[in-house]
Symmetry: C2
Subunit: 387 residues, 2 copies
């Protein structure tokens, strides 16, 4: 790890670029709120928290005697009651655009030093996502627009974080949902962004349409019910001009799917993760004015989403098995799998990589993520330890 | 509040009594880990955390040129799988005693300076509990045994924390479950304690019997199912000699009742409160080897315990009402109600006391506890604010 300290941040120059006192930049480094990336990307420094107006996950690096800044994903707030939230939040504009919120993981793809880099939400360059991005995105976009960053969702079954087979994707696709400028983070208006993405042949998130603000909630409720049926996640509601911040709303089925996954590894997830999803169910039931029998159905679904996976895990561990979260990646260059293994290890994820299987001109690598905390806690309870 | 500082702790003497360096005692005072009580009890200092081997809620006070220490409630750990826990924890003894765990609030009753004081779990002298204790407990116990402390549960409908009408009690009773020595905290063996309590006519928690350790789990499972049917909370399993620590186990119905209450005030409770109760349901289902239809029933019960109260609260607040947790106390001296109001205010509980109603020779005072966080959060969501 000492190798990392070889690349030093030019504090004077960085402070000038960020318009911060040098002491503040030095303080961020000391407190490890501004952290170096690894390997080939040691010269990228990521913000590990929101600092002034710079989002968590933003990435700073030296470029031609100055700096460039790749802003993080802006936090998208959630509507709990769709109608009230749309009326309140978008009251000043006549219509809103609705796009699909996909269930995968967020990645920014940028051109850095003439190469494509896929940067995770936290500001790390992910070797697996980078290889996928190199394969999926024509580099001419970044040659033509060195100042732009693609914000999108990596989704599909070959997804080491949130594998989903609901999108009819064979491996992993990158769905663009935002294009923003380096430095300012200024977004493209929705239609300009979609046009530009289309010109370069990018896959994009689905556009459901533009609806007058006054009755958007009803239209969106309908979309949400339909998306729920096909187990999709939800929607993001946007100001077409991207001046007002977007807001999000998700399907009950997606909340429950999250709970099912999380309760299988009940001791590895944060308590807030469970709580927030449960509360969403309460608000949706009220907004949809559910009758006794509809509410009853929702109660059963919620209870099942919590207890079934937990009971399955406890039973398995009681029977002497260890549980794991089984995912897979698909790489073109076998070395990328090793780099990804090292990457997960550095992130503290306990994962076992199986031997690569050749599939066409690619390699499929199955990964067992061991949820140590759930395994250990359950095992100790089964041995009679007390909580 | 400045009045409180009038009583000073004799640090040199306290350090000698506690066998701690003076600097440590001073440090505890500075960090507010050793805190003064209020009003008539300013000379009682409570430990606000576990400090060395002294439990959180322990109370220290000066007595005849030295000190006395009233030890806090020892934490009783929970069996998640009853069979495994009993086998493991009580393997060295031939039998265990099972007593009822009641649903009320913990109070220690002690004689301090010739008066009865009821001390809460946190180490505060509660004026309401003290009046109830004075009424319920003959003072001759403390004259005969100045060195002993009664540990028990205040339970019944006139309970400002956990009102329950399941015990057939008219107002509030004090159920003794432990008798311990001042200073050491050494407990009486179970049967000696019950005998002593009986001699003084104290109400005691129910004794279910003594069972051979080898098949206690089956007996207790049966007791738990029966207690669940009458909505009682659960059991505490004890070494008859009180050498090994007791352990506890609760009924599913009690977990669900807790959840129903907590989800009515969903934003006022800690996330861990929800989580722990949900996880208990998973372990019990596995231990009881439930089939599909039993598990289904448990899922529905769990879902209903979560969603029904939350949906009710959201609906009410959406309709412009404020929700409150309505409890009541019954006092003999009307001044105690005022002292209790001030006590809750100091604890940061937002409560509205209604005018006392005379009932026989006592006064019933209805109290509306306002759960501000749930009210405010829900109201803001209904206005369209984002989460």
């Amino acid at each position: 790890m000492n190798v990392e300290s070889e690349v030093k941040l030019d504090i004077e120059l960085a402070a000038g670029y960020l318009k911060m006192p040098q002491s503040r930049v030095q303080g961020l480094l000391n407190k490890r709120l501004l952290l170096q990336n690894w390997d080939d990307y040691q010269h990228l420094f990521r913000f590990d928290k929101n600092i002034s107006k710079i989002e968590h996950g933003s990435v700073l690096y030296q470029k031609d005697g100055s700096f460039e800044l790749i802003r993080g994903f802006p936090k998208i707030q959630r509507a709990m009651l769709l109608g009230s939230a749309i009326n309140d939040h978008f009251s000043k504009i006549g219509s809103v655009v609705v796009e699909e919120k996909m269930n995968g993981y967020n990645v920014r793809v940028a051109g850095i030093d003439g190469r494509i880099a896929a940067i995770t939400r936290g500001g790390l360059v992910c070797p697996y996502s980078t290889e996928r991005a190199e394969y999926l995105i024509k580099p001419d976009f970044f040659t033509d627009h060195p100042d732009l960053i693609l914000f999108g969702e990596m989704a599909g079954p070959d997804n080491p974080y949130v594998p989903k087979d609901i999108y009819g994707i064979e491996s992993l696709e990158f769905f663009v949902f935002d294009i923003r400028h380096k430095g300012s983070g200024k977004p493209y208006p929705v239609y300009e962004r979609r046009k530009l993405a289309e010109e370069y042949g990018f896959t994009q998130v689905r556009l459901f349409g533009e609806f007058p603000t006054s009755h958007a909630a009803d239209e969106i409720a309908e979309i949400i019910r339909e998306l729920g049926k096909i187990r999709h996640e939800g929607v993001v509601i946007k100001d077409p001009q991207m001046v007002l911040h977007p807001i999000k709303y998700t399907c009950s089925q997606s909340n429950c799917a999250d709970l099912r996954h999380a309760f299988r590894y009940y001791n590895d997830y944060g308590r807030d993760y469970f709580f927030s999803r449960v509360v969403r169910e309460g608000f949706q039931s009220v907004e949809w004015d559910e009758n006794e029998s509809e509410l009853q159905k929702r109660c059963l679904q919620l209870g099942e989403s919590i207890l079934h996976p937990m009971v399955d895990s406890i039973r398995q561990i009681k029977d002497g098995k260890r549980i794991s979260d089984d995912v897979q990646i698909r790489v073109r260059d076998i070395a990328v799998a090793s780099r990804f293994e090292e990457y997960l290890r550095r992130l503290g994820v306990d994962a076992v990589f199986e031997a690569p299987q050749q599939v066409g001109d690619e390699y499929l690598v199955k990964i067992r993520k061991l949820n140590q905390s759930t395994n250990d806690k359950t095992e100790s309870m089964c041995k009679g330890e007390l909580w």
